[in-house]
Amino acid sequence: MSVSSALLEVDQCTVQFGGLKAVSELDLRIHEGELVGLIGPNGAGKTTIFNLITGVYQPTDGDIWFDGQSVVGHKPYQITARGIARTFQNIRLFSSLSVFDNVRAACNLHLKHGISHALWRGGAFAREEAEIAERVDGLLDIFHLSHLRNAECTSLPYGDQRRLEIVRALATRPKLLLLDEPAAGMNPTEKGELMRLIRFAQEKFQLAVLLVEHDMRVVMGICERIAVIDYGVKIAEGTPEAIRNDRKVIEAYLGE
Protein backbone atom coordinates (compact mmCIF):
# COMPACT_ATOMS: atom_id res chain seq x y z
CA MET A 1 0.00 0.00 0.00
CA SER A 2 1.09 3.51 -0.62
CA VAL A 3 1.48 5.80 2.34
CA SER A 4 0.22 8.86 0.54
CA SER A 5 -2.16 11.21 2.25
CA ALA A 6 -4.69 10.96 -0.57
CA LEU A 7 -8.32 10.38 0.40
CA LEU A 8 -8.97 8.39 -2.76
CA GLU A 9 -6.28 6.63 -4.63
CA VAL A 10 -7.05 4.76 -7.84
CA ASP A 11 -3.98 2.68 -8.49
CA GLN A 12 -3.32 1.31 -11.99
CA CYS A 13 -6.95 0.32 -12.53
CA THR A 14 -8.17 -1.38 -15.65
CA VAL A 15 -11.78 -2.19 -16.50
CA GLN A 16 -12.28 -4.58 -19.33
CA PHE A 17 -15.59 -5.59 -20.96
CA GLY A 18 -14.87 -8.57 -23.16
CA GLY A 19 -12.17 -7.35 -25.52
CA LEU A 20 -12.78 -3.68 -24.81
CA LYS A 21 -10.71 -1.79 -22.29
CA ALA A 22 -13.08 0.88 -21.00
CA VAL A 23 -10.52 2.14 -18.52
CA SER A 24 -6.83 1.48 -18.87
CA GLU A 25 -4.22 1.56 -16.12
CA LEU A 26 -5.77 4.59 -14.53
CA ASP A 27 -4.03 6.47 -11.73
CA LEU A 28 -6.07 9.07 -9.94
CA ARG A 29 -5.64 10.76 -6.57
CA ILE A 30 -7.99 13.02 -4.73
CA HIS A 31 -6.99 14.69 -1.49
CA GLU A 32 -9.28 15.73 1.30
CA GLY A 33 -11.28 18.83 0.53
CA GLU A 34 -10.07 18.99 -3.05
CA LEU A 35 -12.27 19.79 -6.06
CA VAL A 36 -11.08 17.82 -9.06
CA GLY A 37 -12.53 17.91 -12.55
CA LEU A 38 -12.73 14.87 -14.79
CA ILE A 39 -13.19 15.73 -18.44
CA GLY A 40 -12.97 14.03 -21.76
CA PRO A 41 -14.90 13.56 -24.98
CA ASN A 42 -18.12 11.54 -25.13
CA GLY A 43 -17.55 7.87 -24.43
CA ALA A 44 -14.10 8.48 -23.00
CA GLY A 45 -14.91 6.38 -19.93
CA LYS A 46 -15.79 9.02 -17.34
CA THR A 47 -18.97 7.35 -16.11
CA THR A 48 -17.17 4.01 -16.12
CA ILE A 49 -14.63 5.53 -13.73
CA PHE A 50 -17.50 6.59 -11.46
CA ASN A 51 -18.95 3.10 -11.57
CA LEU A 52 -15.53 1.73 -10.81
CA ILE A 53 -14.99 3.93 -7.77
CA THR A 54 -18.49 3.28 -6.40
CA GLY A 55 -18.28 -0.50 -6.74
CA VAL A 56 -20.80 -0.94 -9.55
CA TYR A 57 -17.96 -2.33 -11.65
CA GLN A 58 -14.98 -4.18 -10.29
CA PRO A 59 -11.53 -3.47 -11.68
CA THR A 60 -10.10 -6.21 -13.88
CA ASP A 61 -6.73 -5.16 -12.59
CA GLY A 62 -5.41 -2.64 -10.09
CA ASP A 63 -6.53 -1.41 -6.69
CA ILE A 64 -8.61 1.38 -5.20
CA TRP A 65 -7.87 2.87 -1.78
CA PHE A 66 -10.22 5.08 0.11
CA ASP A 67 -9.46 6.60 3.47
CA GLY A 68 -6.62 4.20 4.05
CA GLN A 69 -8.42 0.98 3.07
CA SER A 70 -8.87 -0.94 -0.14
CA VAL A 71 -12.46 -0.87 -1.37
CA VAL A 72 -12.06 -3.35 -4.20
CA GLY A 73 -14.62 -6.13 -3.95
CA HIS A 74 -16.95 -4.06 -1.79
CA LYS A 75 -20.59 -3.64 -2.72
CA PRO A 76 -21.84 -0.19 -3.72
CA TYR A 77 -23.77 0.28 -0.47
CA GLN A 78 -20.67 -0.59 1.56
CA ILE A 79 -18.61 1.92 -0.36
CA THR A 80 -21.26 4.58 0.24
CA ALA A 81 -21.10 3.73 3.92
CA ARG A 82 -17.33 4.34 3.78
CA GLY A 83 -18.01 7.86 2.58
CA ILE A 84 -18.30 8.04 -1.18
CA ALA A 85 -21.57 9.37 -2.58
CA ARG A 86 -22.58 10.00 -6.16
CA THR A 87 -25.13 11.43 -8.52
CA PHE A 88 -26.17 9.90 -11.80
CA GLN A 89 -25.77 11.21 -15.31
CA ASN A 90 -29.28 10.00 -16.17
CA ILE A 91 -31.16 11.18 -13.08
CA ARG A 92 -32.17 8.29 -10.84
CA LEU A 93 -34.40 9.68 -8.11
CA PHE A 94 -36.82 7.47 -6.18
CA SER A 95 -39.77 8.23 -8.38
CA SER A 96 -42.57 7.27 -6.00
CA LEU A 97 -41.16 9.28 -3.10
CA SER A 98 -41.57 12.96 -2.31
CA VAL A 99 -38.66 15.38 -2.42
CA PHE A 100 -38.35 15.15 1.36
CA ASP A 101 -38.50 11.35 1.40
CA ASN A 102 -35.88 11.05 -1.32
CA VAL A 103 -33.43 12.76 0.98
CA ARG A 104 -34.74 11.06 4.10
CA ALA A 105 -34.21 7.65 2.52
CA ALA A 106 -30.55 8.51 2.09
CA CYS A 107 -30.29 9.09 5.85
CA ASN A 108 -31.05 5.41 6.27
CA LEU A 109 -27.34 4.68 6.29
CA HIS A 110 -26.63 6.44 9.56
CA LEU A 111 -29.67 5.30 11.50
CA LYS A 112 -28.77 4.37 15.04
CA HIS A 113 -32.00 2.46 15.51
CA GLY A 114 -33.40 -0.24 13.30
CA ILE A 115 -36.48 -2.29 12.82
CA SER A 116 -37.34 -2.74 16.48
CA HIS A 117 -37.55 1.00 17.09
CA ALA A 118 -39.59 1.54 13.95
CA LEU A 119 -42.09 -0.95 15.36
CA TRP A 120 -41.98 0.07 18.99
CA ARG A 121 -42.17 3.79 18.21
CA GLY A 122 -40.73 4.88 21.51
CA GLY A 123 -39.12 8.17 22.47
CA ALA A 124 -35.75 7.29 20.95
CA PHE A 125 -37.41 6.63 17.62
CA ALA A 126 -39.30 9.93 17.68
CA ARG A 127 -36.15 11.88 18.57
CA GLU A 128 -34.13 10.29 15.81
CA GLU A 129 -36.86 10.86 13.22
CA ALA A 130 -37.04 14.51 14.30
CA GLU A 131 -33.28 14.89 14.00
CA ILE A 132 -33.38 13.41 10.53
CA ALA A 133 -36.22 15.69 9.47
CA GLU A 134 -34.24 18.67 10.69
CA ARG A 135 -31.13 17.60 8.84
CA VAL A 136 -33.07 16.93 5.62
CA ASP A 137 -34.77 20.30 5.80
CA GLY A 138 -31.45 21.99 6.40
CA LEU A 139 -29.95 20.39 3.32
CA LEU A 140 -32.97 21.20 1.18
CA ASP A 141 -32.71 24.77 2.34
CA ILE A 142 -29.09 25.13 1.24
CA PHE A 143 -30.03 24.02 -2.25
CA HIS A 144 -33.17 26.17 -2.41
CA LEU A 145 -35.53 23.21 -2.51
CA SER A 146 -37.39 23.79 0.76
CA HIS A 147 -40.53 25.08 -0.91
CA LEU A 148 -40.75 21.82 -2.90
CA ARG A 149 -40.39 19.66 0.20
CA ASN A 150 -43.63 17.76 -0.25
CA ALA A 151 -43.75 17.78 -4.03
CA GLU A 152 -43.45 14.62 -6.10
CA CYS A 153 -39.86 14.44 -7.21
CA THR A 154 -40.85 13.54 -10.77
CA SER A 155 -42.86 16.74 -11.11
CA LEU A 156 -39.76 18.90 -10.54
CA PRO A 157 -38.07 20.74 -13.37
CA TYR A 158 -34.92 19.14 -14.68
CA GLY A 159 -32.51 21.47 -12.90
CA ASP A 160 -34.25 20.97 -9.55
CA GLN A 161 -34.09 17.20 -9.99
CA ARG A 162 -30.33 17.45 -10.52
CA ARG A 163 -29.94 19.57 -7.41
CA LEU A 164 -32.13 17.15 -5.46
CA GLU A 165 -29.81 14.33 -6.46
CA ILE A 166 -26.90 16.28 -4.99
CA VAL A 167 -28.82 16.88 -1.77
CA ARG A 168 -29.69 13.21 -1.58
CA ALA A 169 -26.04 12.26 -2.03
CA LEU A 170 -25.00 14.75 0.68
CA ALA A 171 -27.47 13.19 3.09
CA THR A 172 -25.28 10.08 3.20
CA ARG A 173 -22.57 12.29 4.79
CA PRO A 174 -19.85 11.61 2.27
CA LYS A 175 -16.19 12.55 2.44
CA LEU A 176 -16.00 12.35 -1.31
CA LEU A 177 -18.79 13.38 -3.64
CA LEU A 178 -18.87 12.23 -7.26
CA LEU A 179 -20.97 14.45 -9.51
CA ASP A 180 -21.79 13.09 -12.95
CA GLU A 181 -22.58 16.03 -15.23
CA PRO A 182 -24.60 17.92 -12.60
CA ALA A 183 -25.10 20.88 -14.91
CA ALA A 184 -26.24 18.96 -17.98
CA GLY A 185 -29.14 20.65 -19.71
CA MET A 186 -28.84 23.88 -17.74
CA ASN A 187 -28.44 27.35 -19.20
CA PRO A 188 -25.27 29.35 -18.41
CA THR A 189 -26.87 31.30 -15.56
CA GLU A 190 -28.14 28.13 -13.87
CA LYS A 191 -24.76 26.51 -14.39
CA GLY A 192 -23.00 29.38 -12.70
CA GLU A 193 -25.43 29.25 -9.79
CA LEU A 194 -24.97 25.49 -9.42
CA MET A 195 -21.19 25.72 -9.41
CA ARG A 196 -21.38 28.34 -6.70
CA LEU A 197 -23.56 25.97 -4.65
CA ILE A 198 -21.16 23.09 -5.17
CA ARG A 199 -18.27 25.22 -3.95
CA PHE A 200 -20.33 26.32 -0.97
CA ALA A 201 -21.28 22.76 -0.02
CA GLN A 202 -17.72 21.63 -0.53
CA GLU A 203 -16.47 24.11 1.99
CA LYS A 204 -19.32 23.74 4.42
CA PHE A 205 -19.11 19.95 4.62
CA GLN A 206 -15.36 19.76 3.96
CA LEU A 207 -15.92 17.56 0.96
CA ALA A 208 -13.64 16.31 -1.71
CA VAL A 209 -15.45 16.52 -5.03
CA LEU A 210 -14.83 14.75 -8.30
CA LEU A 211 -16.78 16.45 -11.04
CA VAL A 212 -17.52 15.14 -14.52
CA GLU A 213 -18.56 17.91 -16.83
CA HIS A 214 -18.64 18.57 -20.54
CA ASP A 215 -18.59 22.30 -20.40
CA MET A 216 -14.91 23.23 -20.25
CA ARG A 217 -15.59 26.74 -19.06
CA VAL A 218 -17.53 25.46 -16.05
CA VAL A 219 -14.80 23.06 -15.05
CA MET A 220 -12.02 25.54 -15.61
CA GLY A 221 -13.90 28.01 -13.46
CA ILE A 222 -14.08 26.02 -10.25
CA CYS A 223 -11.71 23.06 -10.30
CA GLU A 224 -8.33 23.16 -8.63
CA ARG A 225 -7.05 20.28 -10.67
CA ILE A 226 -8.28 18.56 -13.82
CA ALA A 227 -7.74 15.09 -15.20
CA VAL A 228 -8.43 14.47 -18.87
CA ILE A 229 -9.56 11.04 -20.09
CA ASP A 230 -9.67 9.83 -23.67
CA TYR A 231 -10.42 6.24 -24.71
CA GLY A 232 -10.14 5.14 -21.10
CA VAL A 233 -6.62 6.52 -20.70
CA LYS A 234 -5.62 9.54 -18.68
CA ILE A 235 -3.94 11.78 -21.20
CA ALA A 236 -3.26 14.80 -19.01
CA GLU A 237 -3.59 16.11 -15.49
CA GLY A 238 -2.85 19.48 -13.98
CA THR A 239 -4.12 22.92 -13.17
CA PRO A 240 -6.82 24.42 -15.44
CA GLU A 241 -4.15 26.69 -16.89
CA ALA A 242 -1.89 23.77 -17.78
CA ILE A 243 -4.77 21.73 -19.24
CA ARG A 244 -5.95 24.59 -21.41
CA ASN A 245 -2.59 24.67 -23.16
CA ASP A 246 -1.96 20.94 -23.31
CA ARG A 247 -1.45 19.81 -26.89
CA LYS A 248 -2.86 16.29 -26.32
CA VAL A 249 -6.00 17.69 -24.76
CA ILE A 250 -6.59 20.06 -27.63
CA GLU A 251 -6.13 17.21 -30.07
CA ALA A 252 -8.53 14.94 -28.16
CA TYR A 253 -11.20 17.57 -28.12
CA LEU A 254 -10.77 18.98 -31.59
CA GLY A 255 -9.69 15.82 -33.33
CA GLU A 256 -6.96 15.97 -35.88
Partner: protein, 309 residues
Amino acid sequence: MIQFLQQLINGLALGSIYALIALGYTMVYGVLKFINFAHGDIYMVGAFVGLYVTPWVWKVIPPGQDPSKFNWNTTAGGLVVMLISMVVCAVLGILIERLVYRPLRNRPRLTVLITAIGVSIFLENFGQYLFGADPKSFPDILPDRTIDIGDLSIFMNQIVVFVTTIVLLVALRYIVMKTRMGTAMRALSYNTTAASLMGINNDVIIAFTFGLGSALAAAAGILNAINYPSIDPLMGILPGIKAFVAAVLGGIGNLPGAVVGGLLLGVLETMVVGYISPMYRDAIAFAALIFILLFRPNGLFGKIEKEKV
Protein backbone atom coordinates in the same frame (compact mmCIF):
# COMPACT_ATOMS: atom_id res chain seq x y z
CA MET B 1 -29.58 -51.04 -20.27
CA ILE B 2 -32.84 -51.82 -22.05
CA GLN B 3 -34.70 -49.92 -19.38
CA PHE B 4 -32.37 -46.99 -19.81
CA LEU B 5 -32.87 -46.95 -23.60
CA GLN B 6 -36.60 -47.24 -23.13
CA GLN B 7 -36.61 -44.31 -20.75
CA LEU B 8 -34.42 -42.36 -23.12
CA ILE B 9 -36.88 -42.86 -25.95
CA ASN B 10 -39.84 -41.92 -23.76
CA GLY B 11 -37.89 -38.93 -22.54
CA LEU B 12 -37.05 -37.70 -26.02
CA ALA B 13 -40.71 -37.99 -27.06
CA LEU B 14 -41.80 -36.01 -24.02
CA GLY B 15 -38.93 -33.59 -24.49
CA SER B 16 -40.02 -32.89 -28.07
CA ILE B 17 -43.34 -31.65 -26.73
CA TYR B 18 -41.57 -29.38 -24.25
CA ALA B 19 -39.26 -28.17 -27.00
CA LEU B 20 -42.15 -27.17 -29.25
CA ILE B 21 -43.81 -25.17 -26.49
CA ALA B 22 -40.50 -23.73 -25.32
CA LEU B 23 -39.88 -22.29 -28.78
CA GLY B 24 -42.95 -20.10 -28.41
CA TYR B 25 -41.77 -18.75 -25.06
CA THR B 26 -38.34 -18.05 -26.39
CA MET B 27 -39.51 -16.37 -29.60
CA VAL B 28 -41.93 -14.08 -27.79
CA TYR B 29 -39.27 -13.28 -25.23
CA GLY B 30 -36.90 -12.48 -28.05
CA VAL B 31 -39.08 -9.77 -29.55
CA LEU B 32 -41.00 -8.51 -26.51
CA LYS B 33 -38.77 -9.39 -23.53
CA PHE B 34 -41.59 -10.84 -21.50
CA ILE B 35 -42.76 -14.29 -20.47
CA ASN B 36 -46.08 -15.12 -22.05
CA PHE B 37 -47.56 -16.99 -19.14
CA ALA B 38 -50.60 -17.97 -21.18
CA HIS B 39 -48.54 -19.90 -23.70
CA GLY B 40 -49.11 -23.27 -22.01
CA ASP B 41 -52.84 -22.74 -22.28
CA ILE B 42 -52.61 -22.26 -26.03
CA TYR B 43 -51.22 -25.79 -26.07
CA MET B 44 -54.37 -26.91 -24.24
CA VAL B 45 -56.61 -25.05 -26.71
CA GLY B 46 -54.69 -26.75 -29.52
CA ALA B 47 -55.60 -30.18 -28.18
CA PHE B 48 -59.27 -29.25 -27.78
CA VAL B 49 -59.50 -27.80 -31.27
CA GLY B 50 -58.13 -31.16 -32.45
CA LEU B 51 -60.79 -32.99 -30.46
CA TYR B 52 -63.61 -30.95 -31.95
CA VAL B 53 -62.51 -30.83 -35.59
CA THR B 54 -61.61 -34.51 -35.87
CA PRO B 55 -65.21 -35.70 -36.56
CA TRP B 56 -65.53 -33.06 -39.30
CA VAL B 57 -62.24 -33.99 -40.86
CA TRP B 58 -63.16 -37.67 -40.72
CA LYS B 59 -66.37 -36.94 -42.61
CA VAL B 60 -64.29 -35.62 -45.49
CA ILE B 61 -61.39 -38.05 -45.19
CA PRO B 62 -62.69 -41.29 -43.68
CA PRO B 63 -59.97 -42.96 -41.62
CA GLY B 64 -58.90 -46.59 -42.02
CA GLN B 65 -60.95 -49.28 -40.27
CA ASP B 66 -58.12 -50.88 -38.32
CA PRO B 67 -56.34 -48.27 -36.23
CA SER B 68 -53.36 -50.54 -35.69
CA LYS B 69 -52.52 -50.75 -39.40
CA PHE B 70 -50.86 -48.00 -41.35
CA ASN B 71 -53.33 -46.17 -43.53
CA TRP B 72 -52.74 -43.17 -45.80
CA ASN B 73 -56.18 -41.73 -45.14
CA THR B 74 -55.78 -41.83 -41.39
CA THR B 75 -52.39 -40.19 -41.64
CA ALA B 76 -53.62 -37.47 -43.99
CA GLY B 77 -56.61 -36.84 -41.72
CA GLY B 78 -54.33 -36.55 -38.71
CA LEU B 79 -52.15 -34.03 -40.47
CA VAL B 80 -55.17 -31.97 -41.52
CA VAL B 81 -56.45 -31.96 -37.94
CA MET B 82 -53.06 -30.75 -36.76
CA LEU B 83 -52.88 -28.03 -39.41
CA ILE B 84 -56.35 -26.74 -38.59
CA SER B 85 -55.50 -26.64 -34.91
CA MET B 86 -52.26 -24.79 -35.65
CA VAL B 87 -54.07 -22.19 -37.72
CA VAL B 88 -56.81 -21.69 -35.12
CA CYS B 89 -54.28 -21.26 -32.33
CA ALA B 90 -52.14 -18.94 -34.43
CA VAL B 91 -55.20 -16.73 -34.86
CA LEU B 92 -55.95 -16.97 -31.13
CA GLY B 93 -52.37 -16.04 -30.27
CA ILE B 94 -52.44 -13.05 -32.59
CA LEU B 95 -55.79 -12.01 -31.19
CA ILE B 96 -54.57 -12.13 -27.59
CA GLU B 97 -51.51 -10.10 -28.51
CA ARG B 98 -53.60 -7.52 -30.34
CA LEU B 99 -56.24 -7.14 -27.64
CA VAL B 100 -54.26 -7.44 -24.45
CA TYR B 101 -50.50 -7.26 -24.81
CA ARG B 102 -50.19 -4.56 -27.46
CA PRO B 103 -51.82 -1.81 -25.38
CA LEU B 104 -49.32 -2.65 -22.63
CA ARG B 105 -46.27 -2.58 -24.89
CA ASN B 106 -44.42 0.18 -23.04
CA ARG B 107 -45.61 -0.53 -19.53
CA PRO B 108 -43.46 -2.02 -16.76
CA ARG B 109 -42.80 -5.70 -17.12
CA LEU B 110 -44.66 -6.46 -13.92
CA THR B 111 -47.89 -5.09 -15.42
CA VAL B 112 -47.47 -7.25 -18.49
CA LEU B 113 -46.61 -10.31 -16.42
CA ILE B 114 -49.73 -9.93 -14.28
CA THR B 115 -51.81 -9.51 -17.42
CA ALA B 116 -50.35 -12.67 -18.89
CA ILE B 117 -51.22 -14.54 -15.70
CA GLY B 118 -54.74 -13.14 -16.08
CA VAL B 119 -54.99 -14.37 -19.65
CA SER B 120 -53.72 -17.77 -18.57
CA ILE B 121 -56.28 -18.13 -15.77
CA PHE B 122 -59.00 -16.93 -18.12
CA LEU B 123 -58.20 -19.52 -20.77
CA GLU B 124 -58.08 -22.30 -18.16
CA ASN B 125 -61.36 -21.41 -16.53
CA PHE B 126 -63.21 -20.38 -19.64
CA GLY B 127 -62.01 -23.69 -21.04
CA GLN B 128 -63.59 -25.45 -18.08
CA TYR B 129 -66.82 -23.63 -18.78
CA LEU B 130 -66.73 -24.33 -22.51
CA PHE B 131 -65.37 -27.87 -22.61
CA GLY B 132 -66.32 -29.06 -19.13
CA ALA B 133 -63.84 -29.70 -16.35
CA ASP B 134 -63.71 -33.48 -16.82
CA PRO B 135 -60.99 -35.06 -18.91
CA LYS B 136 -62.03 -35.94 -22.47
CA SER B 137 -60.61 -38.79 -24.44
CA PHE B 138 -58.79 -37.82 -27.60
CA PRO B 139 -59.54 -39.77 -30.79
CA ASP B 140 -56.89 -41.95 -32.48
CA ILE B 141 -56.10 -39.62 -35.30
CA LEU B 142 -52.97 -41.49 -36.32
CA PRO B 143 -52.37 -45.20 -36.84
CA ASP B 144 -51.31 -46.67 -33.53
CA ARG B 145 -48.68 -49.36 -33.56
CA THR B 146 -45.90 -50.63 -31.38
CA ILE B 147 -42.58 -51.50 -32.93
CA ASP B 148 -40.59 -54.06 -31.01
CA ILE B 149 -36.84 -54.11 -31.40
CA GLY B 150 -35.66 -56.88 -29.15
CA ASP B 151 -36.93 -56.01 -25.70
CA LEU B 152 -37.33 -52.42 -26.65
CA SER B 153 -40.80 -51.25 -27.58
CA ILE B 154 -41.32 -48.00 -29.37
CA PHE B 155 -44.74 -46.59 -30.00
CA MET B 156 -45.33 -45.47 -33.54
CA ASN B 157 -46.64 -42.26 -31.99
CA GLN B 158 -43.35 -41.52 -30.32
CA ILE B 159 -41.63 -41.67 -33.66
CA VAL B 160 -44.32 -39.46 -35.18
CA VAL B 161 -43.91 -36.94 -32.37
CA PHE B 162 -40.17 -36.89 -32.74
CA VAL B 163 -40.19 -36.68 -36.54
CA THR B 164 -42.89 -34.02 -36.63
CA THR B 165 -40.97 -31.97 -34.10
CA ILE B 166 -37.85 -32.15 -36.24
CA VAL B 167 -39.78 -31.23 -39.39
CA LEU B 168 -41.34 -28.25 -37.60
CA LEU B 169 -37.95 -27.20 -36.28
CA VAL B 170 -36.40 -27.27 -39.73
CA ALA B 171 -39.33 -25.25 -41.03
CA LEU B 172 -38.95 -22.77 -38.19
CA ARG B 173 -35.25 -22.44 -38.78
CA TYR B 174 -35.93 -21.74 -42.44
CA ILE B 175 -38.52 -19.10 -41.56
CA VAL B 176 -36.29 -17.37 -39.03
CA MET B 177 -33.06 -17.50 -41.01
CA LYS B 178 -34.13 -17.26 -44.63
CA THR B 179 -37.36 -15.29 -44.95
CA ARG B 180 -37.82 -11.52 -44.75
CA MET B 181 -40.19 -11.99 -41.83
CA GLY B 182 -37.62 -14.04 -39.94
CA THR B 183 -34.85 -11.53 -40.58
CA ALA B 184 -37.09 -8.78 -39.27
CA MET B 185 -37.85 -10.89 -36.19
CA ARG B 186 -34.18 -11.25 -35.47
CA ALA B 187 -33.59 -7.56 -36.03
CA LEU B 188 -36.35 -6.76 -33.59
CA SER B 189 -34.92 -9.00 -30.92
CA TYR B 190 -31.57 -7.21 -31.16
CA ASN B 191 -32.88 -3.71 -30.99
CA THR B 192 -36.53 -2.73 -31.15
CA THR B 193 -35.98 0.95 -31.76
CA ALA B 194 -33.34 0.51 -34.41
CA ALA B 195 -35.48 -2.09 -36.15
CA SER B 196 -38.42 0.26 -36.37
CA LEU B 197 -36.15 3.05 -37.61
CA MET B 198 -35.04 0.72 -40.38
CA GLY B 199 -38.61 0.56 -41.58
CA ILE B 200 -39.62 -2.69 -39.94
CA ASN B 201 -43.24 -2.70 -38.83
CA ASN B 202 -42.95 -3.92 -35.25
CA ASP B 203 -46.65 -4.65 -34.87
CA VAL B 204 -46.69 -7.02 -37.82
CA ILE B 205 -43.57 -8.85 -36.72
CA ILE B 206 -44.75 -9.24 -33.14
CA ALA B 207 -48.13 -10.54 -34.30
CA PHE B 208 -46.34 -12.94 -36.63
CA THR B 209 -44.14 -14.15 -33.76
CA PHE B 210 -47.15 -14.79 -31.57
CA GLY B 211 -48.88 -16.62 -34.41
CA LEU B 212 -45.88 -18.79 -35.11
CA GLY B 213 -45.28 -19.62 -31.45
CA SER B 214 -48.95 -20.44 -30.87
CA ALA B 215 -49.04 -22.69 -33.94
CA LEU B 216 -46.11 -24.67 -32.55
CA ALA B 217 -47.82 -24.95 -29.16
CA ALA B 218 -50.97 -26.23 -30.90
CA ALA B 219 -48.92 -28.84 -32.72
CA ALA B 220 -47.44 -29.87 -29.38
CA GLY B 221 -50.94 -30.11 -27.91
CA ILE B 222 -52.09 -32.46 -30.70
CA LEU B 223 -48.92 -34.56 -30.62
CA ASN B 224 -49.11 -34.98 -26.87
CA ALA B 225 -52.79 -35.87 -27.03
CA ILE B 226 -51.94 -38.61 -29.54
CA ASN B 227 -49.54 -40.08 -27.00
CA TYR B 228 -51.63 -39.49 -23.88
CA PRO B 229 -55.20 -39.39 -25.20
CA SER B 230 -56.83 -37.71 -22.22
CA ILE B 231 -57.20 -33.94 -22.32
CA ASP B 232 -58.62 -31.39 -19.91
CA PRO B 233 -58.68 -27.59 -19.64
CA LEU B 234 -55.92 -27.47 -17.02
CA MET B 235 -53.56 -29.72 -18.97
CA GLY B 236 -51.52 -26.74 -20.14
CA ILE B 237 -50.36 -25.46 -16.77
CA LEU B 238 -47.61 -27.92 -15.99
CA PRO B 239 -46.26 -28.48 -19.51
CA GLY B 240 -46.39 -24.71 -19.89
CA ILE B 241 -44.24 -24.15 -16.83
CA LYS B 242 -41.94 -27.00 -17.76
CA ALA B 243 -41.50 -25.67 -21.27
CA PHE B 244 -40.66 -22.34 -19.74
CA VAL B 245 -38.04 -24.12 -17.67
CA ALA B 246 -36.74 -25.67 -20.88
CA ALA B 247 -36.52 -22.24 -22.48
CA VAL B 248 -34.57 -20.93 -19.49
CA LEU B 249 -32.30 -23.98 -19.53
CA GLY B 250 -31.42 -23.25 -23.13
CA GLY B 251 -31.02 -19.54 -22.43
CA ILE B 252 -34.18 -17.59 -23.04
CA GLY B 253 -34.27 -16.01 -26.48
CA ASN B 254 -32.12 -18.77 -27.93
CA LEU B 255 -34.03 -21.00 -30.40
CA PRO B 256 -31.73 -24.04 -30.61
CA GLY B 257 -31.23 -23.67 -26.86
CA ALA B 258 -34.96 -24.06 -26.28
CA VAL B 259 -34.97 -27.32 -28.22
CA VAL B 260 -31.97 -28.73 -26.37
CA GLY B 261 -33.47 -27.55 -23.08
CA GLY B 262 -36.79 -29.24 -23.89
CA LEU B 263 -35.18 -32.55 -24.79
CA LEU B 264 -32.93 -32.41 -21.76
CA LEU B 265 -35.82 -31.75 -19.42
CA GLY B 266 -37.94 -34.48 -21.00
CA VAL B 267 -35.18 -37.04 -20.53
CA LEU B 268 -34.43 -35.83 -17.00
CA GLU B 269 -38.07 -36.11 -16.04
CA THR B 270 -38.57 -39.65 -17.39
CA MET B 271 -35.34 -40.75 -15.74
CA VAL B 272 -36.49 -39.40 -12.37
CA VAL B 273 -39.85 -41.10 -12.81
CA GLY B 274 -38.22 -44.35 -13.92
CA TYR B 275 -35.40 -44.56 -11.41
CA ILE B 276 -36.45 -42.55 -8.38
CA SER B 277 -40.16 -41.97 -7.88
CA PRO B 278 -43.08 -40.79 -10.00
CA MET B 279 -44.05 -38.53 -7.10
CA TYR B 280 -41.20 -36.21 -7.99
CA ARG B 281 -42.16 -35.92 -11.65
CA ASP B 282 -43.14 -32.27 -11.35
CA ALA B 283 -40.74 -31.21 -8.62
CA ILE B 284 -37.72 -32.06 -10.77
CA ALA B 285 -38.57 -29.38 -13.32
CA PHE B 286 -38.78 -26.75 -10.62
CA ALA B 287 -35.61 -27.95 -9.00
CA ALA B 288 -33.86 -27.72 -12.37
CA LEU B 289 -35.25 -24.23 -12.87
CA ILE B 290 -34.15 -22.99 -9.48
CA PHE B 291 -30.75 -24.53 -9.94
CA ILE B 292 -30.21 -22.98 -13.34
CA LEU B 293 -31.54 -19.55 -12.40
CA LEU B 294 -29.37 -19.38 -9.35
CA PHE B 295 -26.18 -20.63 -10.89
CA ARG B 296 -26.44 -19.88 -14.60
CA PRO B 297 -29.25 -17.34 -14.96
CA ASN B 298 -28.63 -16.92 -18.66
CA GLY B 299 -29.03 -20.60 -19.38
CA LEU B 300 -26.61 -23.34 -20.16
CA PHE B 301 -25.30 -21.53 -23.23
CA GLY B 302 -26.03 -17.92 -22.35
CA LYS B 303 -23.67 -15.13 -21.47
CA ILE B 304 -23.99 -12.87 -18.45
CA GLU B 305 -25.24 -9.36 -19.00
CA LYS B 306 -24.98 -6.55 -16.53
CA GLU B 307 -27.44 -3.75 -16.04
CA LYS B 308 -26.28 -0.47 -17.47
CA VAL B 309 -25.83 2.29 -14.93
